[in-house]
């Protein structure tokens, strides 16, 4: 069976679903961050699939932007996690509740 546009979109949707469910189930901040990266990659796959099936370079350009933003987010997000860890010795997001009440 030849994989058409629908197959690529279905694969992207399944990966996005797994990422979404992972963000809810995971408790440490790094695990949540990795699930968000998985969701971003699923979206990248959608862009590249559409770029191929409509012969438009815009999709791949946008993937490039998404990758750059993900890299910037990784750098700053992991910096925040490390700074938070220095103060509270835990990366459990339930412990990051100092702004509550």
């Amino acid at each position: 069976m030849e994989p058409g546009l629908a197959t690529y979109l279905a694969l992207s949707g399944v990966l996005f679903t797994i990422g979404c469910v992972g963000v809810i189930f995971k408790r440490n901040a790094i695990g949540m961050f990795m699930c968000i990266e998985l969701m971003l990659n699923a979206v990248n796959l959608t862009f590249v699939a559409f770029s191929r099936y409509y012969s438009d370079t815009t999709g791949q350009l946008f993937v490039f932007m998404v990758m750059s933003v993900a890299a910037a987010e990784a750098a700053v997000g992991l910096g925040i996690i490390i700074a938070f860890f220095r103060n509270s010795r835990s990366v459990d997001v339930d412990d990051a509740s100092m702004l509550r009440n």
Partner: protein, 185 residues
């Protein structure tokens, strides 16, 4: 024919590694599974005739971002995730959300399969490096420059977040904060 079979192999590998990433509670196993997902996705990009994006995916995601994540996991010496003791209803919400999203995915699959088929030109060249380069510097110059500024901001932010203040610098920061709040020492 071999290309089609290879796509299903890599798609299966991507889904298996993604499920493994969510299942494992040890963050290092999750990170290694995520690297597997990225490599499988890179191979899928090759089947989509996007060699530049495939190579850049390996370079940036598998080779830089995940190395950073693995470093942080090793430096912080993280233990396994413990299962939820309170807010147990989150498991049910997660499962429900998963079911809804999967149903949406299958609906999209069904709808796109029924849509009129757009034939793909065999020699379409939207994925070559030279096409992407030309588009990047002519039509999409503004987004590229903005991304450059964004990366510069990320570098500066990373450096500031991870520096250790010396004692005089620490006293200066505390003094400024006290002044801002309007308190006395």
């Amino acid at each position: 024919m071999v290309g089609n079979a290879l796509f299903f192999v890599f798609a299966g590998l991507a889904i298996a590694c993604a499920i493994s990433m969510v299942y494992h509670r040890n963050p290092l196993y999750s990170a290694v599974s995520l690297v597997g997902v990225f490599i499988a996705l890179s191979c899928i990009y090759v089947t989509l005739a996007a060699p530049f994006i495939a190579a850049v995916q390996i370079l940036i995601y598998a080779g830089a971002i995940m190395v950073l994540v693995v470093f942080v996991i090793m430096l912080l010496n993280l233990d396994e995730d413990k299962p939820l003791t309170r807010l147990r209803y989150l498991y049910a919400i997660g499962a429900g959300l998963g079911v809804i999203l999967l149903a949406q995915t299958f609906f999209i699959f069904y709808a796109v399969m029924r849509a009129p088929n757009v034939p793909v030109a065999e020699d379409q060249t939207a994925g070559r490096t030279i096409d992407i380069g030309r588009a990047m510097y002519s039509e999409y110059l503004l987004p590229v420059e903005i991304v450059g500024v964004l990366l510069m901001m990320a570098v500066i932010g990373g450096v500031i977040l991870s520096r250790k203040l010396t004692q005089p610098q620490l006293e200066l920061v505390v003094d400024n904060e006290m002044e801002r709040r309007g308190e006395d020492h």
